[in-house]
C-alpha cells in the first residue's frame, strides 16, 4: 500500500491564480465594450495585438530564464497586463507604441524583476508612464467620441481602424482625434470651469467618459462580489479623491473641477478597480490597503490640479507602489490574543 505521506491540510480549494486572472480579464469586458462603443474598433484591435505581444515576450523571457513555459504562460497574468495597457492607451495608438509599452511592461517591469509576483511596480502602469513621457504626441491623440460626428459608433470601420493602427498615421485620421476632457480642463486657459464647460465640445460630450467609467465600476463590483480583491483600496482611493475634490470645489468652484468630474473622467475608475487593486504591487493588510488607496487618491488630485500632466492615475499608483513595503511595516493587523498591533520592525521582537 503506497500511501501518500504529507502534512496537513489535505484538502484544497479548487481555485488557481489563472482563475483569478481570468476573472479580472472577464471583469474588464463592460469597459472594453463601452470603449469600443464610444471610441471605435481601436480598443479591441489594441487588446488583441497587445495580448499577442505580451504572450510572445513572456514566452521569450520564460525560455531565456529556463522556466517551464506552459506552467507560467497559463497563469493569464501576461494577458491581463496586455488588456490593461490596451485600455489605457489611446484607441488609435500606432502598433509600435503598443509594442513598446508591452515590451516595457512584460520584459522590464515584470520578468527582469523575477516574473509573476516579484514586480514591485504595476507593469501596465510602468509601461503607460514610459510611453507617456517618451511619446507625448501619440499619447495625447485621444480619439474623439464618435457621437461628436453624429454618425454613430461605427464611423470608422474595422479594416480602416486596422489600417490606421498598422499602416501609419494620415491626415485623414486627425479628423477622429480630440483632446480628453482632462486635457480640456487642464488647458482651459483663463476660463473658469463654468466657462470651460460651455466652451468645449469635448467637455460637452463628457458623457462618453462617464459611461466608460460606469462600465469599469460594473466590472469592479463583479470582482468585489467574487472576492478577488477587498473593497479597501478602491473605496479609500475614490473617497479620498472625492473628498479632496469636494473640499476645493466648495472653496472655489470656478477654479476647481467638481468631484464628480474627477471621479468619472480619465483613468480614475480603471485605476481604482483594475490597477490599484493589483495585489502584487499594493499594500498587504486591509489597513495598509486603506492608506495605499488614500495615497493614490490624494496624489491623483494633486498632480491633476497642480502638476504638469492632465491625468495622474499611473504616476500616483507607481508612487504608492513605491511606498507599499513601508506601509506594510506599519499596518500589521492586530493578531488574535494581542492587545495592540505591531508596528515597524523591531530588532527584538
Amino acid at each position: 500500500m503506497a500511501l501518500i505521506r504529507i502534512t496537513s491540510p489535505h484538502v484544497h480549494k479548487p481555485a488557481s491564480t489563472a482563475d483569478i486572472m481570468r476573472l479580472v480579464i472577464l471583469a474588464t469586458l463592460p469597459g472594453v465594450l463601452a470603449m469600443t462603443f464610444f471610441f471605435g474598433w481601436g480598443t479591441l484591435i489594441n487588446i488583441l495585438w497587445a495580448a499577442f505581444l505580451a504572450l510572445a515576450f513572456e514566452a521569450a523571457c520564460i525560455k531565456a530564464r529556463k522556466r517551464p513555459l506552459y506552467f507560467y504562460l497559463k497563469d493569464n497574468s501576461a494577458v491581463l497586463t496586455a488588456v490593461l495597457i490596451a485600455l489605457a492607451l489611446p484607441p488609435f495608438a500606432p502598433w509600435w507604441l503598443t509594442m513598446v509599452a508591452v515590451f516595457v511592461a512584460i520584459v522590464i517591469a515584470k520578468q527582469l524583476y523575477g516574473g509573476i509576483g516579484q514586480n514591485p511596480f504595476n507593469p501596465a502602469m510602468i509601461a503607460y508612464a514610459l510611453v507617456l513621457i517618451s511619446f507625448p504626441v501619440e499619447m495625447t491623440r485621444w480619439t474623439a467620441p464618435f457621437m461628436l460626428h453624429g454618425e454613430g459608433w461605427n464611423v470608422l470601420g474595422f479594416i480602416d481602424t486596422l489600417q490606421l493602427i498598422f499602416g501609419g498615421w494620415s491626415e485623414h485620421a486627425d479628423a477622429f482625434t480630440s483632446a480628453t476632457p482632462l486635457d480640456e480642463m487642464r488647458h482651459r486657459g483663463g476660463l473658469t470651469t463654468e466657462e470651460a464647460w460651455r466652451a468645449s465640445d469635448v467637455l460637452a460630450n463628457v458623457g462618453a467618459w462617464h459611461a466608460v467609467s460606469a462600465a469599469y465600476v460594473m466590472g469592479g463590483i463583479f470582482l468585489l462580489y467574487k472576492k478577488i480583491f477587498s473593497w479597501h483600496t478602491p473605496a479609500a482611493m475614490l473617497l479620498s479623491l472625492g473628498a479632496i475634490a469636494t473640499f476645493f470645489y466648495l472653496i472655489a468652484p470656478d477654479s476647481y473641477a467638481d468631484p464628480f468630474f474627477h471621479l468619472t473622467v480619465g483613468g480614475t475608475m480603471l485605476g481604482a478597480f483594475f490597477i490599484a487593486t493589483d495585489p502584487v504591487s499594493s499594500a498587504t493588510s486591509n489597513k495598509g490597503k486603506i492608506w495605499f488607496g488614500i495615497g493614490i487618491g490624494s496624489l491623483i488630485y494633486i498632480i491633476r490640479t497642480w502638476g504638469n500632466y492632465p491625468d495622474a492615475v499611473a504616476f500616483s499608483i507607481l508612487l504608492m507602489n513605491l511606498a507599499a513595503p513601508f506601509i506594510d511595516q506599519y499596518t500589521q493587523p492586530r493578531t488574535y490574543g494581542h492587545k495592540a498591533p505591531k508596528r515597524g520592525i523591531k530588532e527584538k521582537a
Binding site: M1, R5, H10, D19, D75, A349
Partner: protein
C-alpha cells in the same frame, strides 16, 4: 439564545459529514492483538506496570501516570501481555513509541470496577484523582490530561465552562453521533465538570450543521437542573478551535501565549464529558472511543466505537475498505490531521477520525506557483496574521521578521493553505520557520549555558590561581619571617651565650658518650684481636673528633662570645681538627704503651698507627696554620672583586673528586683486607696501605672542607649567603620554567587575540624572570 461574536477569517470547505452519519455507532470487533501506546496524551508517558506473559483483565491499569501532566493507561480487553516494545504509533512524526501489546483472549472479561456513586459527597481532589487514574485525556484532538484542566479551579476563577461540540473539521462526525446517541452521558459529564469547577455559565458551542444533535441535546438538557446554554454557531472552519470557540461564544480573546483559564474560561470536549461520566458513574476507564471511519475509499462510512489499541486495519475492514482505491490515509480531519502509512497503527484516545481517501478525493497538491500576494490567506486567517508576509519571511529565512509578525500565534489550522490560489503549502512553511526558530533558540540557550559554564570555570581557575599565588606569597612571607626569626634566635643565642652553652653542653655530652662507646668497642676488639680493629679505630677517631669538636665549641663559647661569622667557623674547625689529631695521637700512644706492656700482637700495628697519627696531627696543625694565614689574607682582601676570588680559588670540584677517589680506594683496600688472613704478611701490607689511604682521604677531605669553608666565608664576607643564593637561583629557574609553561599553555588552548594582553604580561614577566635567573646563576658560578 446567546449572542455570537464572529472571529476573523475562516473557510467553508466541503463538509463531507453526511456520509458517516447515516448509520448508528457500531461496536468495532475486538482484535486479536491490541497495541496500546503508553503515551496517548500530552505530557509524560505513563510507566508500564505489567510484565510480558502477565494476564490482564479489561479495564486493568497497565501503565501508571508519571508526573504532574500524565494519565494512566488501561487494558482495553482481557488477555495476555505479549510484549512491551517500541512500535509505530499515530503521530505526525511517524516515529515509534513504547506500546504494550495484548493478545486478547476473546472473553473480554472485566476487572472489578465501580463508580464513585454520589460524587458530590466526596472531596473535589479525590474525584479529580479518580479521573486521572481512569486515563481521561482530552478527546478533541490534543489529548491534554483532563485532570489538569479540572484542577484549574484551584488557582483560577472559572466563570465560564465551554463544552466544545463544534466539530468544525470536515468529515468528522464522532462528536455529532455521540451527542445524538449518548446526550445523557454528556450532560452527566457536564454536571461532574460543573461540580468540580463551579462555573457561572455553561455554554455548549455547536455548529449549525448538526441540527439533529442540537435537538437531542436540547431534549437531554431538560433533565438537568444546571443552566446550560446551547450556542449554535455558523458552520465555519475553524470555529471548533479552542481560541476561536472562546471568541465566538464569549467575545473574549485568549491572550497570546496564555490559556483560556487565564480569562476565566475552561473548555472541554463533548467526548471528554461523556468519558468523565463513564468513569465517575460506572468506574469505566477510557478504553474505547467513537471513531469516524470515512472517506471515498470505504464502502460503508460510519462511526465505530473502537477499543483503544485496535489496529486501524480492523476498523477499515469493518467499514469495507476498497484497498485498490486508497491513496491517502488520514488520521484526524482533512485540515489538521496527519497521514498514516501503516494500517497496523492503533486507535488512541485522540483518534477521532480516519479518512481513507481516494486519489480524486484528495489529489496530490499541484506544483506551487508564485505568490501574487492576493491576500486571500489574510482574509481566511482566524488568527489575523499576515500569512503571505510570513510566507515570504519563512522562505527567505528572515525568522526575526516572522517572529515579529507573530508567527507563533499561528494555530496551523491550514485555512491559508486551503484558499491559496497558487497552491503554496503555507502551513508547511510556518512549521518549518517555527522549527527553525525553536532550534535556533535551543542552540542559543545551549551556547549561553556553555558560555556561562566556561566563564564560571575560568573564574574558578583564576580564583584558584590567585589563591595559590596568595598562598605562595604567604608562604614566602612566612618563610622570610621564620628565617628572620631563626636569625634573630641565632643572634639571640649568640647574644645569649648561656643558651648556646647549654646546647653545646648537651652536644658535648652526647659526643662523649659516643666516644666512650667507640673506645669500649675498640678495646674489646683489641683484646680479642678482632679483624675490624682498624675500622673501629676509625670510628673511634671520628667519635673522638666529634667529642673534641663539641668540647672545643663549648669551651670557646664559654670563654668568649663567638667571633664574627666571617672566618670563625673554619678556623675553629681546623683548630678542633688539630686538637683531635693531637688527642688521637695521645690515645694511640697510650694504647701502644699498653700493648707494649702486655706484649700484644698488635703492638707493631699500633706503632705504625701512632706514627701516622703523629703525621696527621702535624698536617692538621699545618692546615690550621694555612687557613689562619688565608683568613688573614682574605679579611684583608675583602674588597677585592668576587671574580678575582673565584679565579684564585682552588677548584672545589677537583677537591671533591679527590676526596671521593680516596674514599673508593680506601674501601677497596678494606675489602681486600677482609678477604686476607689477619696475621699473614699480605695483611700487614694491606693494613699499611689502608692506613695510608685513610690518611690521604683524610687529607683530601680536610682540604675540601677548608676550601668550602673558605668559599662560604668569602661569600659571606661580601654579604652573600651562598645557601640563600643557591635557593634563590633555583627559585628563579623554577619561575622561568613555570612562566614558559603557562605561556605555552595559553598559546595552545585559548584564542591568542583574546588573551594577548595577558600573554604580553606573561612574556614580560618571563623576560624579567629569565634575567633574574641568569644574574643569580652568574653570581653563583662566581662562588663555586
Amino acid at each position: 439564545m446567546s449572542k455570537i461574536f464572529a472571529f476573523h477569517g475562516g473557510i467553508h470547505p466541503p463538509e463531507n459529514k453526511k456520509q458517516s452519519t447515516r448509520a448508528p455507532i457500531r461496536l468495532a470487533p475486538v482484535p486479536e492483538q491490541l497495541v496500546i501506546p503508553v503515551q496517548q496524551h500530552i505530557g509524560a508517558p505513563a510507566k508500564p506496570c505489567v510484565k510480558p506473559g502477565e494476564h490482564v483483565l479489561k479495564g486493568q491499569v497497565i501503565a501508571v501516570a508519571q508526573g504532574r501532566i500524565s494519565v494512566s493507561v488501561h487494558a482495553s480487553s482481557s488477555g495476555t501481555i505479549v510484549e512491551i516494545s517500541p512500535k509505530a504509533v499515530p503521530h505526525p512524526s511517524g516515529l515509534d513509541a513504547t506500546c504494550i501489546t495484548i493478545q486478547t483472549d476473546g472473553k473480554d472479561l472485566w476487572t472489578e470496577h465501580q463508580g464513585l456513586g454520589d460524587y458530590r459527597a466526596l472531596e473535589r481532589s479525590s474525584i479529580i484523582d479518580f479521573i486521572r487514574n481512569h486515563g481521561i485525556a482530552g478527546m478533541g484532538g490534543a489529548g491534554f490530561p483532563t485532570d489538569v484542566k479540572l484542577h484549574l479551579g484551584d488557582d483560577h476563577i472559572v466563570n465560564t465552562l465551554i463544552i466544545n461540540a463544534a466539530e468544525c473539521e470536515p468529515y468528522i462526525t464522532a462528536d455529532d453521533m455521540l451527542i445524538r446517541e449518548r446526550a445523557d452521558q454528556i450532560v452527566g459529564g457536564i454536571e461532574i465538570i460543573s461540580y468540580l469547577l463551579n462555573p457561572t455559565h455553561i455554554l455548549i458551542g455547536i455548529e449549525d450543521n448538526k441540527a439533529h444533535a442540537i435537538r437531542v441535546l436540547e431534549e437531554a438538557l431538560r433533565s438537568t437542573t444546571l443552566n446550560i446554554d446551547i450556542v449554535v454557531v455558523p458552520t465555519k472552519y475553524p470555529s471548533g478551535g479552542e481560541k476561536q470557540l472562546v471568541q465566538l461564544l464569549t467575545g473574549v480573546e485568549v491572550p497570546s501565549g496564555r490559556i483560556p483559564a487565564d480569562v476565566g474560561i475552561v473548555c472541554q470536549n463533548v467526548g471528554t464529558a461523556a468519558a468523565i461520566y463513564q468513569a465517575v458513574q460506572h468506574g469505566i476507564p477510557l478504553i474505547s472511543r467513537v471513531v469516524t471511519v470515512t472517506g471515498a475509499a470505504v464502502s460503508k462510512p460510519q462511526n465505530l466505537e473502537a477499543l483503544i489499541g485496535t489496529p486501524l486495519k480492523t476498523l477499515l475492514d469493518t467499514a469495507k475498505i476498497k484497498r485498490d482505491q486508497l491513496s491517502r490515509l488520514v488520521m484526524g480531519g482533512p485540515m489538521m490531521g496527519f497521514t498514516i502509512e501503516d494500517d497496523g497503527i492503533p486507535v488512541i484516545k485522540t483518534s477521532n477520525c480516519i479518512i481513507a481517501a481516494t486519489q480524486e478525493e484528495m489529489p496530490p497538491a499541484p506544483p506551487a506557483q508564485a505568490c501574487i500576494r492576493c491576500g486571500l490567506c489574510e482574509q481566511a486567517c482566524p488568527a489575523e496574521l499576515l500569512p503571505q508576509q510570513l510566507y515570504w519571511f519563512a522562505k527567505s529565512r528572515e525568522f526575526d521578521k516572522a517572529k515579529n509578525h507573530n508567527l507563533f500565534d499561528c494555530i496551523e489550522c491550514g485555512a491559508c493553505s486551503y484558499v491559496c490560489p497558487s497552491n503554496i503549502p503555507l502551513v508547511q512553511y510556518y512549521r518549518f520557520a517555527k522549527n527553525e526558530i525553536r532550534t535556533e533558540e535551543a542552540e542559543q540557550r545551549k551556547a549561553d549555558q556553555a558560555r556561562q559554564r566556561f566563564e564560571a570555570r575560568q573564574a574558578r581557575l583564576d580564583q584558584e590561581k590567585a589563591d595559590k599565588e596568595a598562598r605562595r606569597k604567604d608562604r614566602a612571607v612566612q618563610a622570610a619571617k621564620t628565617q628572620a626569626a631563626k636569625k634573630t634566635a641565632t643572634e639571640a643565642a649568640e647574644a645569649n651565650p648561656e643558651d648556646k652553652i647549654k646546647q653545646l653542653k648537651t652536644a658535648a655530652a652526647i659526643t662523649r658518650t659516643k666516644l666512650k662507646k667507640a673506645l669500649t668497642a675498640l678495646e674489646t676488639a683489641k683484646v680479642e684481636s678482632s679483624d675490624n680493629i682498624a675500622q673501629l679505630d676509625l670510628q673511634y677517631q671520628q667519635a673522638e673528633h666529634a667529642a673534641n669538636d663539641a668540647q672545643k665549641a663549648l669551651e670557646s663559647a664559654e670563654q668568649n662570645p663567638p667571633p664574627s661569622l666571617t672566618i670563625a667557623p673554619d678556623i675553629k674547625q681546623l683548630k678542633t681538627q688539630a686538637a683531635v689529631a693531637r688527642t688521637k695521637l695521645k690515645k694511640a700512644q697510650q694504647a701502644l704503651k699498653i700493648a707494649e706492656e702486655k706484649s700484644h700482637d698488635g703492638a707493631e700495628l699500633l706503632r705504625v698507627t701512632v706514627a701516622q697519627l703523629e703525621e696527621k696531627a702535624k698536617s692538621a696543625q699545618k692546615a690550621f696554620d694555612n687557613v689562619d694565614e688565608n683568613a688573614a689574607h682574605n679579611s684583608a682582601a675583602q674588597e677585592t672583586l668576587p671574580k678575582e676570588a673565584a679565579l684564585n680559588a682552588i677548584d672545589l670540584k677537583a677537591l671533591k673528586q679527590n676526596v671521593s677517589i680516596m674514599r673508593t680506594k680506601l674501601k677497596k683496600a678494606e675489602k681486600a683486607m677482609e678477604l686476607t688472613e689477619a696475621s699473614s704478611p699480605e695483611a700487614t701490607e694491606l693494613e699499611q696501605e689502608i692506613s695510608r689511604l685513610t690518611q690521604l682521604h683524610q687529607q683530601a677531605k680536610t682540604q675540601l672542607d677548608n676550601e668550602e669553608a673558605r668559599k662560604t666565608s668569602i661569600a659571606a664576607a661580601q654579604g652573600v649567603d651562598l645557601k640563600k643564593l643557591k635557593i634563590d637561583a633555583a627559585l628563579a629557574r623554577a619561575a622561568v620554567t613555570k612562566l614558559e609553561r603557562s605561556i605555552k599553555k595559553l598559546q595552545e588552548t585559548a584564542e591568542p587575540e583574546l588573551n594577548s594582553p595577558e600573554l604580553d604580561k606573561l612574556q614580560s614577566e618571563l623576560a624579567a624572570a629569565q634575567q633574574k635567573a641568569t644574574l643569580l646563576n652568574n653570581t653563583l658560578s662566581q662562588f663555586e
